[in-house]
Symmetry: D2
Subunit: 364 residues, 4 copies
């Protein structure tokens, strides 16, 4: 039920508003015996932090995780792991001017319709700030996955219509190195250079760009569930739960709609070691909702940042037509997709951790 | 947990294999007082049935729902509604020849990896046969939604690269009439004619086509949940849980990745009656996971039918390279997307019914 | 959410009214590879059937399970197992006379308050008939448990104030043999004889008796969850979900309230084989919600059968004071606790099956 | 799944160990618009605090709630409410001496069996300290219930075999006043005096006492769910999830097993205002799992405190027989039931809040 929880066995519950005292997450169901250090969480949080370059928002949050529970002598105990991230730099006075106007592309209109009340400071619960808690939880999931040789990596695949050449290699370590060394998390340098120019241009225009994030994972065959909790369904759910997402596709994705069965079907092959695998991977790593052992490959579409400094027509809470305009000093990412990279990766890790644990009940 | 259940308050659990005695669904959480007749379910099942035209599989199932519980004097009582659909025409001998080969594009490989056992007859639980149970449940959801003036309709938007002109009208009744009068559920007659030719051609080639199903819904503002259970996340989960789906997009979808914020943001407007709405609908009907009151618009990508009569390379369960080939008499849809139309509609209705009931707990 | 489901991983959903066409259960989450025959379910259903002796209701249902799904070549496949039990002997005309009166001790008043509609025939969903579906599910759970050397047995511990001598042996096989050989499921013959006389007397008085059902289980240490999903909490939930139950106690139970810590604490001991165990078992088999490896021992209180032939004051649905009286020919158990024995055992098996599967995620 | 969560719509997740930096709770699903002040939570926490009198443990915690999220301008917003309670006075060195011994009546043995790791400081997650988080959540639930005229109160009904005279009045305000004015939460002064003497005596003996907590609630008819999620089943689950509980009974409880149907059935009556009610209340406020509108009355059995200063036989983690003895300076309640009063009340409020919200989906 609870709309602030995600996952079945490896289950996270996040809380906190962007301008409240803190945000955080409780991870329930992480098995005992996973080694975990606060620094490992902080490292992931750092990737998500703004202000790393001219291409993201200059706000400096310096997120630091405080582990409140669930760890004893450096290992998980099976008890819930609560992680707190204090909010800093939270001047909400800039929101006073706009608190009585429906913000185009934002959720204050719909929250008011649903709840009759809205914490307008920085978007409250609908702020992307919430995703820092997801990243903290993802850091824990990754530690569990690492014990089972499961890994995943996300990267910028396209921004402003400028896309990296496909297909990516399935060497996740290599993708990760290139991605995290790049100021906009793009593993292809030539593409990255073009994208950065496009971002500089759109910033001058007081406008923003959309993008596509790609993600690859390596995992054994047999993970995921049939029928409703298909691995791709869980991933789609996870990705569309992220702010600003507009689409999800796995493997061939929407391009599959323009293919023939004889092109799309991945034929089975067997190597000399007797390992059965598919010769191609249009499926994107699953069949019938369960992993094939081929790399899991999917893509997520992000809309352009809704917070732009151009004036936009709107309506006030009192029913008057008005113009909505952010202050000149407001700080926003020109492209939310960039900072979404570690978030997509974190949610993928959480989905896979859950699938890993769920799978233990599949055989008698 | 249970991977054969879907929904939180309006919760369905399906069961049954394609070649077992029956399939069915238990709907738990439907409120009391919804009027329901068996015929209303049968009517929806008829839309999903194959054999309606040359463009779907000729298998004649003649599905009939048997309501086993939960209805008293023509109304729901609040008790679980169990609906049984007996299987007919289930000759499984045709599967004997292929039972020891991994089927390209099918789930027998992954089921065996996960469970160590597989009911190979007709695909067992991974068969699209399971979706008949979803359609039956969707018929009940629609009756509940109708009492609250909520409606949804799905249609063929594109097959084999041939797409209908967008945007669709938001007159759902008109779309429904055109869609269900058309032999391939395509609301645009000119497009439909072209698609039918493409299907005839691909059938001759013993091959298959993919497609895109569109869906529109009318609902009040304020439905859906923030953070994880966003309305679009629930829809994405529902759609990617359908067999053969490869992608989901809402509103502008993947095209949003190529737009600017100033183009994509839907400005708010107010009409003379004081009704606040967005002037455009790139968002596709939600903001922050909650409905805006504008039409909900999304699209689902289906891969081409995996069951084709062309020979394909594969591997046997005993590790030998082999060729997989369906018998000449096997009956399969040349494009699974067509029959998916009522299924997409049913799952949408179930998601909306659940959101409707969940919403009742949002205010004190 | 769904109030007709029970369990987390091993999850059952029941449906059906006493006078509808059928009742049944869908078991979702049973692992693949458990051998299962219809006869094994029928055997459990037979224990629950009325008409075995003069001490239960003479209604002859002859329940037969029809397995609709989830079994292939005699084994579970991991797919949902749907079991249907057709209703017979369902003359509902006897209920016409009483359909407009609130029945003392029954649920028609509260169902009408909650749902505004009530299927009065035989109690509809509130009928003990629903428990046949639980027994069918319990038969499947027992098969899974047997593969892991876990067993449980329930028995009549007290009826009409006449109790068996405690403590019971922990030889479950012996308890089971005595219990199921006895016409009122009482493992102590001398006690049984006294109880049967008391039942004969109360039948003559057109009245009924209450009772207490005991249950013992053997299972390894380490099953169950801390905090909310404690093993005893799950059992209490399961037992209080049975019709006519008024109480649950584990180990020393309510008597613990009159003990001192030095008496109640079970001291730890170690045997020659190095096996740590508690010297006594006042705890009843758990500490902190997790099994100790000592026998699980609990008791459930059942109220006397509410359906009695004595006239009782009541009120009609139209607000008139009236007298409620069952017809002379109505058939009811003089003591519902007797037939509850296989039901308590079934629910225990389901709780333990769930705990067994949940436990697989406890360690990294 | 998650064993540290409780509730379906009004759902709490607790975290934290007794000797870690903090414990806390996230409440997800509380509707928007409930007024809430930190002081209202602190007031409830104060009732649970030890050191109030000679009859509870002298540890002085001075719990203070910090609301981290979900409140805006004094009202709930529909977002998750996270409440943090910092631990103080947490010297864990006293546990060093006993960290390698299985503690009689405690959970270190079973936690080690389940998880292979145990935070021995103060019992870690199995500590009663966790219940402070439940009390904080209960304070929020009570605020919601108050808006719907639902109320509940718990009290000491029996300690060391000394019981208050039954039946209690159904004037909850009066019971509450007496209960919370009494140093051991006993609403009957004469009984209270006897109990206090018994406690003094058992303290001298370095031993402890068990007890029974009673609870009454006033709520409208129609709340609760049939079949599995019966109101009494949810309450039993909640109560048996509390540390040290051994039993639950509702209404007549175990005494029902010794009654006849003609005695136990509550006859229906109607008053001059046309209000239908039961003349007696042996049922304890529910029929078929749904509230009748009569007071909800139940009782919970608590074992005597396991932490006693008498030496007890035990076994070390290394398999040696040993003697377990708490240090002379260890501080423990002579009777855990006393401090359980506000905890039982809190869990009841949470169950009722959940039932209230669930009920909104019962009718079309």
């Amino acid at each position: 039920m609870a709309s602030n929880s995600f996952g079945k066995i490896f289950r996270i519950t996040t809380f906190g508003e962007s301008h409240g005292p803190a945000i955080g997450v409780v991870i329930d169901g992480c098995p005992a015996g996973v080694s975990l250090q606060t620094e490992e969480i902080d490292q992931q949080l750092a990737f998500r932090e703004p202000g790393k370059s001219a291409y993201t928002s200059p706000r400096t949050e310096h997120d630091r995780a405080e582990i409140l529970s669930g760890i004893f002598e450096g290992k998980t105990t099976g008890a819930p792991i609560a992680i707190l991230i204090r909010n800093k730099d939270a001047d909400s006075s800039q929101y006073d001017a706009v608190k009585n106007v429906y913000r185009p592309g934002h959720a204050n209109f719909t929250y008011l319709e649903k709840y009759g009340i809205f914490d307008y400071r920085g978007g409250g619960r609908s702020s992307a700030r919430e995703t820092a808690a997801r990243v903290a939880a993802g850091a824990v999931a990754k530690k569990l996955l690492a014990e089972h040789a499961i890994d995943c990596v996300a990267y910028v695949a396209e921004i402003g219509g400028i896309a990296i050449p496909e297909p990516m290699s399935s060497d996740l370590r290599q993708i990760r190195e290139k991605t995290y060394a790049n100021p906009i998390f793009c593993p292809d340098e030539a593409t990255s250079a073009k994208i950065m120019k496009a971002i500089e241009k759109v910033k001058e225009e007081h406008d923003s760009l959309g993008g596509v994030i790609g993600c690859s994972a390596l995992l054994p065959a047999g993970l995921g569930d049939p029928v409703y909790a298909k691995l791709e369904a869980e991933l789609a759910y996870a990705m569309l739960s992220l702010p600003a997402t507009k689409g999800f596709e796995i493997g061939s994705g929407f391009a599959a709609a323009r293919m023939k069965g004889s092109e799309h079907n991945d034929e089975f092959d067997i190597d000399e070691a007797g390992h059965v695998h598919t010769a191609t991977n249009f499926a994107g790593g699953t069949l019938g909702g369960i992993s094939t052992g081929s790399p899991l490959c999917f893509r997520v579409a992000f809309k352009p940042t809704s917070s732009i400094k151009k004036p936009q027509k709107s309506v006030s809470l009192y029913g008057e037509k008005t113009t909505f305009q952010l202050s000149e000093t407001a700080r926003h990412d020109p492209c939310v997709a960039i900072r979404a990279v570690p978030i997509v990766e974190a949610m993928t890790a959480i989905v896979l951790a859950d699938a890993l644990l769920m799978n233990r009940a599949s055989k008698c």
